[in-house]
Amino acid sequence: MINKIVSTVSEAVADINDGATVMIGGFGPAGQPAELIDALIAQGAKDLTIVNNNAGNGETGLAALLKARRVRKIICSFPRQVDSQVFDALYRAGDIELELVPQGNLAERIRAAGAGIGGFFTPTAYGTDLAKGKETRLINGRGYVLEFPIHADFALIKAERGDRWGNLVYRKTARNFGPIMATAARCAIAQVHEIVELGTLDPEAIITPGIFVKRVLRVERSAAGSDAGIRAA
């Protein structure tokens, strides 16, 4: 019997190794797998490369992982925010490496990894500083930049519901990077608010088919992050 359900958060992240590349879902707090990140901090893996849209907000979640100095490098599109003080300080001190990627290129590089694409030409960033040193090509008179996939060892994502085969559905804009990160990692770990019996999820509406997911963990809605708003609503 296939059963991807794990019962504890520490079990879910137990084998994340030092030096691993870890994708973390979320666009700001929406879709951020806060409990998995906390478990990763407790687990102690270090020298990590993190892939996320941002570089942490406030002092919790990804920001706390950065603050614990477990991250060697971050690949993201929008590190600087009003509450990105943890990243800002590390960056200014030269204590973290930043690979800045336009948001759509970030998404497509992740998608490409999951789809087995070796590289692709994109018009985004052509002629800008973020394309410096990269191969370019004129195709039908338009300039394109060669970009390569981003593979990961692990992906930590948050979904709304899942089953023991790893099928997932998401909630509103908390979907963001979850579906593509699940495809790009060797081991995708999903925290969900509800685990349902096999056959309960409408097969026409499953967003991430279970083939992309290795572990599913149920996590109660908490009062933190984007969950707070769900409760209030």
Binding site: P102, N176, S226, G229
Partner: protein, 218 residues
């Protein structure tokens, strides 16, 4: 002269968004355009974090932080709206499915180069987000900005001194002084605010411009 305020600028941009258009409004000044879209037109707002058919801000107490816009503020979804992941969302831009985007800018050059993501200052932490994808991704790219910096320098320039967001990507510029098209023949002034002459506009801008049959602005 009668400079336009931010809301007047937003209203002016909104007038040019036609029925049926799919539009992405950038963070900051462009967000105001949503408040001025004519109610008799069905216009779909796209938000790059994965929403099509985005509605206005929710009533107090109704916020759902799983339903946010690109600026991470709570929004609502219109009937018929949809959610999708990031690769699809940026495919909508890059694939040429988006009719318009409205962006803020530090500078726009006479040939439509856009600089809006980074001042290039050595101590600034760079952050690009979806700016470069939007700049090349919509069929029509509108820029909305004050015409002059606080120091009185023109933000419409011969060549951008700030790092570029996109090359030759801007189609039209809306400022507090004028509406200007970027054409293969250079900048073409469509409208000027009351009390400002074409010659004075060109002098303030410091770049060559041609005039269409210039109308009074707004």
């Amino acid at each position: 002269m009668n400079k336009l305020n931010r809301d007047q600028m937003a209203a002016r941009v909104a007038r040019d968004i036609p029925e049926g258009a799919v539009v992405n409004l950038g963070i900051g000044l462009p967000t105001l355009v949503a408040n001025h879209l004519p109610r008799d037109r069905e216009i779909l707002l796209h938000s790059e974090n994965g929403v099509l058919g985005m509605g206005p801000a929710p009533a107090a107490g109704e916020e759902d932080y799983d339903l946010i816009n690109a600026g991470k503020q709570p929004v609502t979804l219109l009937r018929g709206g949809s959610f999708f992941h990031h690769a699809d969302s940026f495919g909508m831009m890059r694939g040429g499915h988006l009719d318009f985007c409205v962006l803020g800018a530090f500078q726009v050059s006479a040939c439509g180069d856009l600089a809006n993501w980074h001042t290039g200052a050595p101590d600034a932490i760079p952050a690009v987000g979806g700016a470069m994808d939007l700049a090349i991704g919509a069929k029509q790219v509108f820029v909305m900005m004050e015409h002059l910096t606080k120091q009185g320098e023109s933000k419409i320039v011969e060549h951008c001194s700030y790092p570029l967001t996109g090359v030759g990507c801007v189609n039209r510029i809306y400022t507090d002084l004028a509406v200007i098209d970027v054409t293969p023949q250079g900048l073409r002034v469509l409208e000027i605010v009351e009390g400002l002459s074409f010659e004075e506009l060109v002098r303030l801008s410091g770049v060559p411009m041609r005039r269409a049959q210039a109308k009074a602005y707004a």
